[in-house]
Amino acid sequence: MKTRRITLIVLILLTVLFIVDVRYFGSRSLKEPSVDFNISPGFRQPEAHKSQEFVRPQHDITSLYLKGRHGVVELSSAEGDEIRVQAIIWSDREEVLEVVEVKESISGRELSYELSSDLEGEEVGLGFVVEVPDGMEVTVEHQFGTVRVEDFLGFLNLDTRFANVNLNDVEGTLTIKNSFGNLNLQRIAGPLQLTNAYSTCTVELLPVDGGYDFDIEVVNGSLKHNAGFQVNIGGNNRVGAQGKWGEGVHPVHIRSNFGSVVVNIDK
């Protein structure tokens, strides 16, 4: 009995203290939480930037390699035989800009541009504005940013992660590897090899002579197309579509995991 009485008294006292706490010190509950979860904070607003320009005659250079991050990459074909590359380096500290620069190198027939050092722990962004002669092979590796390709004629290889990719009026051979970023390919003509994961992907193909030979497989996602042949539903949450449009000369090979794929032919 004694124990019960004392326990009840303690509970009542604590309840009174709780009421007093809520009534008079209520703001205490608004204290900042002890744990912050910040999901995908991305790149902080850059404080400073600098740009470097490179202009080279094409001569026997057949391919261009660009490695960027955070910034915007803009690529297009232009008349003439000059390769024009404007590199824009971003950082939130001026001191970083003083030590970092874009390195140009030539290896065989390949010209490449990338940051001179990795500067571990520093937030540095690198974007490009590039014009190349028709028919060149261009490889772009980019993460966290945007890649825009317009009016391009040639061989294009893209390796992108966490980036939005927009292609308009691109003619040639395309090889794209993309994850965690939306992919929007408009008015594309030519063979296409696309590997995609965790993103939405829209492909609008131009009707070209010779037509297309489709081989599409989507795992854990959806597939829509207007090429006129059937979508097969397989095991393991796998859907696929194989078939020819026209004579089936240009291969369109798409593999996608965890994402939706829309393929349209602009008839």
Binding site: R28, G235, F258
Partner: protein
């Protein structure tokens, strides 16, 4: 420590049956889901919901288990054995707490094992976009330890609530719920009151551990230790109190 381990072994042995049952159910749900995916019968959303079901159920079961592990001693009169043992109350409580934590770890292990076995392609796919298996293991362990600490604190609240409800003897459910509520408030109060004493401690930043690739994406965690330490001291205090109450003030049925 022999006595503690003997108590722990007893509590683990007592929960072998439900633990085995739940582990089996988890694996069966996974296997069933795997078959449904393979035959294309279920869309990914349904499959994910089915696989998540045991994970959602697990914390509820553990909470129930932490309550049940004490309640069953009274229900089956084995508390007559437990209360006459010449061991400190905190050892009895610690054994029960450790048993629940081990059960959680086993269930989690079974879930991870099942995922690796039945969903290997999906896991492989997920691993492709992560910085590496070492990253996954390191962060997995970190998340596991964090969840274990959370579980332990909740179990301590439940133990205190149960012991207090036994001491009052009437309206036990209501008293237990109110004690649960008051104890979480007390711990919060401890955290606030003691925080100024620990202001000198820096916030523990776990962002590097959580980085995706080498860049600032993913989950950044800033853990302010000042108020956390106060809260954990409060929880420790409640644990000691539970042990003392259990040893000296709790009674068997009249």
């Amino acid at each position: 420590m022999t006595r503690f381990f003997r108590l722990l072994r007893k509590d683990l042995q007592a929960s072998l049956l439900p633990l085995g049952f739940l582990s089996g159910i988890t694996l069966i749900v996974m296997l069933f889901t795997r078959v449904r995916i393979a035959t294309g019968s279920w869309p990914m959303e349904t499959a994910l919901a089915a696989v998540s079901l045991p994970l959602v159920f697990m914390p509820l079961w553990l909470l129930w288990q932490s309550f049940q592990t004490l309640r069953v001693e009274w229900r089956e009169d084995t508390v007559y054995t437990l209360l006459v043992l010449p061991v400190p109350g905190w050892k009895v409580m610690l054994a029960k707490l450790a048993a629940v934590c081990i059960e959680y770890s086993v269930l989690l292990g079974v879930t991870v094992f099942g995922t690796l076995i039945f969903f290997a392609p999906q896991v492989q796919l997920a691993m492709e976009v992560l910085p590496g298996s070492l990253w996954a293991v390191r962060n997995g362990i970190l998340v596991y330890l964090f969840s274990l600490a959370m579980l332990a604190s909740v179990v301590i609240f439940v133990q205190l609530a149960f012991v207090v409800s036994r001491m009052v003897g009437r309206a036990q459910g209501l008293v237990a719920l109110w004690t649960l509520f008051l104890s979480s408030w007390l711990v919060d109060l401890c955290g606030s009151l003691l925080a100024p004493l620990f202001r000198w401690l820096p916030a523990l930043s776990l962002d590097k551990l959580f980085r995706l690739y080498e860049i600032e994406a993913g989950i950044v965690v800033n853990w302010r230790l000042a108020s956390e330490i106060g809260s954990w001291l409060g929880i420790l205090g409640l644990f000691v109190l539970t042990g003392v109450l259990f040893e000296h003030f709790v009674e068997v049925n009249g």
